[in-house]
Every structure is written in C-alpha cells, then in structure tokens.
C-alpha cells in the first residue's frame, strides 16, 4: 500500500517535470497493477518477515560508502534545470526541431518512441512478451490439470456482497475502456500511446475480475484468446516493419505505407502503437490471471 502511494507521488513528480507521458504510465502501472501483483504475492507467501537481519551495521556501512561515492560523482554534474547540460546538446535538439516536419506527429515522445527508436521499442515489446510467457510457464504448471469450475469460491466472494461497489464499478468500466481507447489512439497528438492505453484497458478487466470472479471474466475473454492476442501484437509490429523491406527501404521505415510519406508515417505509428497496446494489454491481464489463480488455490486449501 505504501508503495502504491509512492508510485502516485512519483507520477505527480513526473508531471511537474514536464514528462506527461511517463507520468501517465507510472500512474497506470505503479498505482494499479503492481500493487495488485504485490498484494496477491503477499497473500500467497504470508506477509510477515521473520526477524533475522544479516548484519545491518555492515550493510549500513556499505550503503553509506557507495552513497558518498555517488554523491562525489554528482559534484561534476550540471545543475538542475539548466538548458546547456550535455544531455540536451546531442540528438535531442534534432528531435525537437525536426521531428514535426519529418513525421507530422505533434507529440515528440510518440514519434521518437515509434519512429526514431522503433527498434528499441520492438525490443522492449519482446521483453514484455517473454516476461509474460515466463510468468505463465512458472505459475500455470499446477493449474492446467484442474478444472476451471474450482474457481467458484473466488477471492472476490466477499466483494460480491458489496452492492455499492458492484453498481459503481459497472458504471465505471465502460468509461475506463473508452478512456483507454482514447489514450491509445490519441497518442500521436497528446500524452498517451500503446503502453498506457494497454495498461488502462487491462485495468478495466482487472476491476471486472476482482468484482465478479475469475470465471465470469474468463467467459468474457478466455486465456487462449489472450495468449493469441499477446502474440498478435508483436506480430503486427514486426509485419509493419517488414513491409518496407519489400520495396527496398529499411526495416520500420513507415514512409512507404501510403502515397504521402507523412500519411504513411501516421499510419505506421498508429499501427505500431496498436500492436504495442494489444500485447501490453494481454500480457498484463495474463500475468494478473496467473497470480489470481494461485491466490484462489491457496483459498481452496484453507
């Protein structure tokens, strides 16, 4: 819970630092998803630590020494908020000055994310995909055999009694979905994009699962479909990257996607963000479902 508040605070800090896109992501990820994952892990493993610390004084000495070394390193760093720091001298000025005329996308963060650093984003997407597969293979080993009907007494049993929560959430979920779609497709012009949109879309489903149980949400979208979608997003991104190769251009060069290069850029970025959004949505939801299954197994045992 404290970590939750900490994430919210750092999201506020990112807004103050003019990093609206990052603040968006941190608010969606840190406040919602990571807290749920941590809480469900604590439910499984027990929330009390046995009081055996390994030499706190020695650790403290190590931490203090390395802290001083790092602070000694910062003495040479440029002052906070200065515009002539070395970080602003290299490629960043090019992005700020040229990206709008080259790509036609007002949000520089989106154009750099999907266009100039498209390879990087593709790699990140593969990391997310691989991590999701890892979680499923680790946690699903002992749930595959059992039937889904055992999730009748879910962890949400107590929540089902709560009428106010149910009604309000039922009203909220469509708006959350709508907002997620807005964030997803408006990412070219305002803060947002695939990463944020996917996480918000997933959080609507997570809310639904928490209220109505795993069985109801599995009826809505089954796990095999989610696995399919998670692969589909990555495939979409890669295929869009491959299309220019056939016309003799380089990988992820969106200019050839339409007659007008600017329109091609727009189309490319939109589809790439869609791919990112689909993968992030389904991986986050898959991870959540895997954790929830573990929690409900613990609930069965008691």
């Amino acid at each position: 819970m404290l970590l939750n508040i900490y994430s919210l605070l750092s999201a506020c800090f990112f807004v103050l630092m003019d990093a609206v896109d990052v603040a968006f992501t941190e608010a969606a990820v840190g406040v919602g998803v990571s807290t749920i994952l941590l809480l469900s892990t604590l439910t499984i493993t027990g929330s009390f630590e046995k009081n055996k610390r390994i030499k706190p004084i020695l650790t403290f000495v190590i931490v203090i020494i390395s802290g001083f070394l790092l602070i000694y390193g910062t003495l040479q760093m440029p002052p906070f908020g200065s515009s002539d720091a070395p970080i602003h001298q290299h490629v960043a000025t090019y992005y700020i000055e040229e990206s709008y005329t080259e790509t036609g996308i007002p949000n520089i963060v989106t154009s750099v994310l999907a266009n100039y650093r498209g390879y990087d984003t593709l790699g990140e997407l593969f990391v997310i995909f691989a991590a999701g597969i890892g979680v499923i293979t680790l946690l699903d080993v002992n749930t595959n055999i059992k039937n889904l009907s055992m999730f009748k007494n879910d962890l949400s049993k107590s929540l089902i009694q709560n009428h106010i929560l149910r009604v309000i959430s039922k009203m909220l979920i469509p708006f959350i979905l709508l907002f997620a779609l807005y964030v997803q497709f408006h990412g070219d012009f305002g803060p947002g994009g695939g990463f944020q949109g996917g996480v918000i879309f997933a959080s609507a489903f997570i809310l639904y699962t928490m209220l109505f149980g795993l069985k109801a949400s599995q009826k809505l979208i089954s796990q095999s479909w989610l696995e399919f979608f998670s692969a589909l997003g990555v495939l979409l991104y890669t295929c869009i990257g491959m299309i220019p190769l056939f016309t003799g251009k380089s990988f992820l060069n969106y200019k050839v996607l339409a007659q007008d290069p600017l329109q091609g850029q727009h189309l490319g970025v939109l589809i790439v963000e869609l791919g990112v959004g689909i993968t992030v949505f389904s991986i986050i939801l898959l991870i959540f479902i895997a954790f929830t299954k573990q929690v409900s197994i613990i609930g069965e045992g008691k």
């Binding site: 630092m17 003019d18 046995k50 802290g67 602070i71 520089i108 994310l113 012009f189």
Partner: protein
C-alpha cells in the same frame, strides 16, 4: 549554492541507497523485490530530472504557436523511461512468480532457511 543546484541528485541518491539497503539487509524475498523496485524508481527519477529544463514545457508541439521559440524539455529520456516502466512491471511480475514457486517448493521465502534446506539435501 552547489548543493541547492543539484538537490535532485541528492534525492535520487537517498532513494537509491535506501533501495540498496533493503535489498541487502532483508532476508525476505518479497522485501528484496520491493527494494529493487525502489532502486529502479530512483533511476527513473534521475533520468526524468535530467531531462527537465527550467521554464520548459512538455514535449508536445503546438501548431498555433509554431515558429515561436518555445522551450521543450528533452523527450529522449521520457521515451526510455516510458518503456522501462512497463518492462519493469513485467520483470517484477516474473520475479514475484519465481518467489511464489520458491514458496511452493521450499515452504519459505526467507533466504537463510532456503539455504539451510539446500544444505540438507
């Protein structure tokens, strides 16, 4: 004057060192992951505060006032951290999944107890 100008680095160092302390001093694996998350967030804050220029605005170009010289903050660290946050949550989920598996096979998530059980085998 130097200290006040670089206070953002100090905040980052304090956060980073508290994360490191939790990571080393605690035997509980979940707490270790929380420490790692705090460490990670300090790096995010480090990047974002580097990108900030005083008097600058968010890096979204406004069409109406194009041509005027508006200061935008550096978009590149924003991109890096944006993806790093989502990758961070999925790797954290992977770490937590490993912890759950360890709990299932060893019955404990305390580091020294796991070590003792390993020695017995």
């Amino acid at each position: 004057m130097n200290i006040l100008e670089s206070f953002n680095y100090w905040v980052v160092m304090i956060l980073m060192m508290s994360g490191l302390y939790i990571l080393i001093a605690h035997g509980n694996l979940v707490k270790k992951i929380i420490g790692l998350t705090i460490f990670q967030t300090s790096v995010y804050i480090f990047y974002i505060s580097m990108a900030n220029i005083s008097g600058a605005t968010a890096p979204i170009i406004y069409k109406n006032i194009e041509g005027d010289n508006i200061l935008y903050s550096n978009p590149l660290p924003h991109v890096l951290i944006l993806t790093a946050i989502v990758v961070g949550i999925s790797t954290m989920a992977l770490a937590l999944a490993l912890v759950i598996r360890i709990k299932q096979s060893y019955g404990t998530i305390e580091e020294d107890e796991i070590h003792a059980k390993e020695q017995q085998q």
